[in-house]
């Protein structure tokens, strides 16, 4: 059976257009204001790495404070100024660290950096396009992203410091200067930065959707899309539908903060006098925020789903198990993720019946997630597994996703959530399931597509050491947090000594802090390996992982327009690994069928 679906791909014209010649590009056009998707991907990657370092350093300050409460910080006095008094960190400063760690990691690293890097790199290469649908929009979205992140960075240095209201920025705390010192200029810049970020993210998403829908090469029907492309498509749709709601939430927050409106404020007495605000409700903000906030965790993890599926299939030399189920489960998660947001609000005072409804949807969304895990494991079964560094990060991601995902069954249940809500149990849950798992997906992608990006290989030994130190470190940091949470320790506490109830495991906190410092140090190995390999790595071959997808049909040193001649035509799905009777254990997508091959 060699039935070709989608023979008349909407963009036949692309097939034969020659790549444009850009011989006269200036340095500025080529490296800075480039519209080439590969250059933009690298720009996102460098920015993402920078933010990942900043975000991790902030978490180390948090961990030092919690693990070594007696530390004398006066050495940092010259750098931090009034944020250190008598050798002690200021509690507001601590909360700023918590806030910025969350904001930076979630938005600038896992959303902006991760999706910007691998989405921009892979979408045109894997669907067989010369570039993104709009190179200019792509460039613009990167520069707005960078502007937004510079503004966020600048907010560290304004009077009274940056926002200290948590990444969730619940009003009234986030908008009243009387309530929190960071609610002044710091919060204004925070909101401004987030708004620019949303604009940038929306541009990226539109570009992704348009590119994937319209610019697929001849023969690249939807049933032949690699899992990564499916993942990026659903990520983009998810961000397009949910980020605007966050925009409106922040706009109203800004009005309340700076223009005296009462969308979220009512009946407040603070700093010795009542405020005139009447009729608003902070619960409204929570609904608007979590309407994005929950899809956001899937926006961060979907690309990891796609990348991990791709890498596991390639390195196990087996088709991804249950391709239709894998696509359907991401789709189901995408749809359901719009219906679970209020499970963050079981204890917020909303109607308990609403809690039951959201509890049900939260349980249901765990079903497609379990299906994905079973399919990954089944892909490993009876494979011929090459444990490359990217493969290790892929199975590491699956392992962390399982560990973190299972605790979701506790927090999704309203009755149990009453005990563990806002405790370290939740911190452990989301750091494992969306934080670390998405990070592992990101690292997996970087190791896997490094040869594509830079034409060189990364050092494998350093990669192996990096992986094992990181996965052991991540488990040592986050697994004990379950115990802290189950014994009642609340999140976002500057110190646990005030309460006898919470002062039971000081040693465990110290242990976690040491593990966190070691885990961070292990990332230095990655940084060294990454930058060293860009210049001195072993030159890559064209298809180092013997993969089937189109990006490996491009030249090793990437060129404008991606393919020197015609864009390849696709004849088969992306997972023809170990096809019986085939000459090799993989058949690239652009190889035509012959009588021996199967019907894909």
């Amino acid at each position: 059976m060699t039935v070709q679906q989608d023979q008349s791909s909407p963009h036949d014209f692309q097939q034969h257009t020659e790549p444009e010649e850009h011989t006269s590009q200036s340095f500025l056009e080529k490296y800075i204001f480039s519209t080439d998707h590969k250059t933009i991907a690298k720009q996102y990657l460098y920015t993402g790495i920078f933010w990942a370092i900043v975000g991790s350093l902030l978490s180390l300050i948090i961990r030092i404070q919690l693990g070594f409460p007696d530390t004398d910080f006066s050495g940092l006095q010259s750098f931090l100024g009034t944020r250190v008094t008598n050798g002690r960190l200021d509690p507001d400063f601590y909360l700023s660290m918590v806030t910025m760690h969350g904001t930076i990691m979630i938005f600038f690293v896992l959303t902006g950096g991760f999706i910007g890097t691998l989405g921009n790199l892979l979408i045109p290469l894997q669907i067989g396009a010369r570039d993104m649908a709009s190179g200019f929009l792509n460039m613009l979205s990167y520069w707005i992203f960078l502007t937004s992140s510079v503004i966020m960075f600048y907010s560290f240095f304004v009077e009274n410091g940056t926002s200290a209201a948590g990444w969730t920025a619940y009003p009234p705390l986030s908008v009243l200067v009387q309530a929190s010192s960071g609610a002044g200029q710091g919060m204004t810049l925070w909101i401004l930065s987030m708004m620019l970020f949303i604009i940038s993210s929306t541009m990226t998403s539109i570009n992704f959707v348009v590119t994937i829908v319209n610019l697929r090469t001849k023969g690249m029907s939807l049933r032949r899309l690699p899992m990564t492309i499916w993942a990026f498509l659903f990520t983009a749709i998810l961000s397009l539908l949910s980020f605007p709601v966050l925009m409106s939430a922040f706009l109203l927050l800004f009005f309340d903060k700076s223009m005296g409106t009462s969308f979220y404020l009512s009946d407040i007495f603070i700093a010795g006098s009542p405020l005139p605000n009447k009729g608003g409700s902070p619960i409204v903000y929570q609904h608007l925020f979590w309407f994005l906030g929950h899809p956001e965790v899937y926006i961060a993890i979907f690309p990891a789903f796609g990348i991990v599926s791709e890498v596991i299939s390639t390195n196990a030399r087996k088709p991804i198990f249950g391709y239709p189920a894998m696509v359907a489960s991401i789709f189901a998660i995408m749809v359901l993720s719009f219906t679970v947001w209020a499970h963050h609000m079981f204890m917020s005072g909303m109607n308990p019946f609403l809690g039951s409804v959201f509890s049900l949807t939260s349980f249901i969304i765990a079903v497609p997630s379990s299906v994905k895990v079973f399919n990954w494991i089944m892909t490993l079964w009876q494979g011929k597994i090459h444990l490359t560094t990217s493969m290790l990060f892929a199975i590491g991601m699956v392992s962390l996703f399982i560990t973190g995902g299972l605790t979701g069954l506790f927090v999704a249940n309203t009755a149990i959530d009453m005990m563990v809500h806002d405790t370290y149990f939740v911190v452990a849950h989301f750091h494992l399931v969306m934080g670390s798992a998405a990070f592992f997906g990101f690292l997996c992608g970087v190791y896997y597509w490094f040869p594509k990006m830079f034409g060189r290989m990364m050092n494998t030994t350093l990669g192996y050491i990096h992986f094992w130190l990181t996965i052991v470190g991540v488990y040592l940091v986050f697994f004990p947090m379950h115990f802290l949470g189950l014994s009642g320790l609340p999140r976002r506490y500057y110190s646990f000594t005030t309460f006898d109830t919470f002062n039971i495991y000081p040693d465990l906190n110290t242990f976690i802090s040491i593990a966190a410092i070691l885990t961070f140090s292990a990332q230095l190995i990655f940084l060294y390996n990454f930058f060293h390999s860009i210049f001195y790595g072993k030159p890559a071959t064209q298809n180092p992982w013997r993969s089937t997808t189109l990006e490996w049909t491009t030249p090793v040193q990437m060129i404008d327009g991606n393919w020197p001649g015609d864009v390849p035509v696709v004849y088969r799905w992306p997972y023809d690994y170990s096809v019986p009777d085939a000459a090799e254990d993989f058949i690239p997508q652009n190889i035509e069928h012959n009588a021996n091959n199967d019907d894909h």
Partner: protein
Amino acid sequence: MKAEIKVFEVIVAVIVVIVLVMLGRKILAGRSIQDTINNAFERAQPAIALSFLIALFVCVIFSTTYFCPDFIAAPVSKNARDVVPLFHVTFIATSVAFFLTQFGVFYFAFRYRSARAKNAVHIKQNTKLEVAWTLTPTIVFIFLFLWGQVLWAKITEEPSGDVLVIDVIGQQFSWLAHYAGRDHRLGQNDFRLIDNVNTAGIDFSDPASKDDFIPVQMHVPKGKPVRLLIRSKDVIHSFYIPYLGVKMDAVPGMITTLSFTPTETTRDMQKKLKDNDFDFEVACAELCGRMHFAMKLIVVVDEPAEFETWYNQQPSWISTHNADDLLQ
């Protein structure tokens, strides 16, 4: 001692020499040291993956059993106590899933390593298997959900009969508990009446408020339902008693409710935990600013008779304050 050290040194030296000789031979054979190291590491990966799996299981089992006794999975209030079996069943279900799937991930990575496996099997899907593993979790999840909702309905139900109603106010950074006094009727309150004296904003033109009192420590009786009407003056707080397993946000502009029935007195707990300084503590569980970590109130759980005595001894708030200081 000295001899031992020498033996040790000799062994180390021998190992170093052997390694050097082996590396040297490899180099002579035309392979770079880096390739040799890379290959050695690559070959070791499946074994490391298997060791990691074993270490993960050992550590998880050991640490969980070690910390188990301190879990607050045994809260001492009526509805929260009923959640414990649900917690345990969820714990068992997730543990089974954890061990099976983690085993699958790392053991398969070891078992089907490329050095040993012949060829990968070309399987695309298996509908029966996929339907089975979609339905199994669905059934388990729905069971857990339904059980949870039965408990949730009880937790959020308004208690009937002889209920102690307390007006709880969250503020940066403390809790106030406003009791109804001997008439068992809470006085009205309004945030516009709040000032530095009348911190709870009680409306003293309401006759019901005349005998209301705000004690330094909150007292509740054992075995009798308590219903809290929670409000906040400034930002969002969350009223959280870890040992009773209860939590509810305090939101400015609205009143939230929380009901619980303590099943042990403070003295029972002191005996049980062999700690004479034990106290039930109220903490804040929603980030509320600078001193969020220190927003504490002590709750004393008394025997009902003791509670009655304490309740009737409390002087009314108005009698201990100068009426001229009030707004009105």
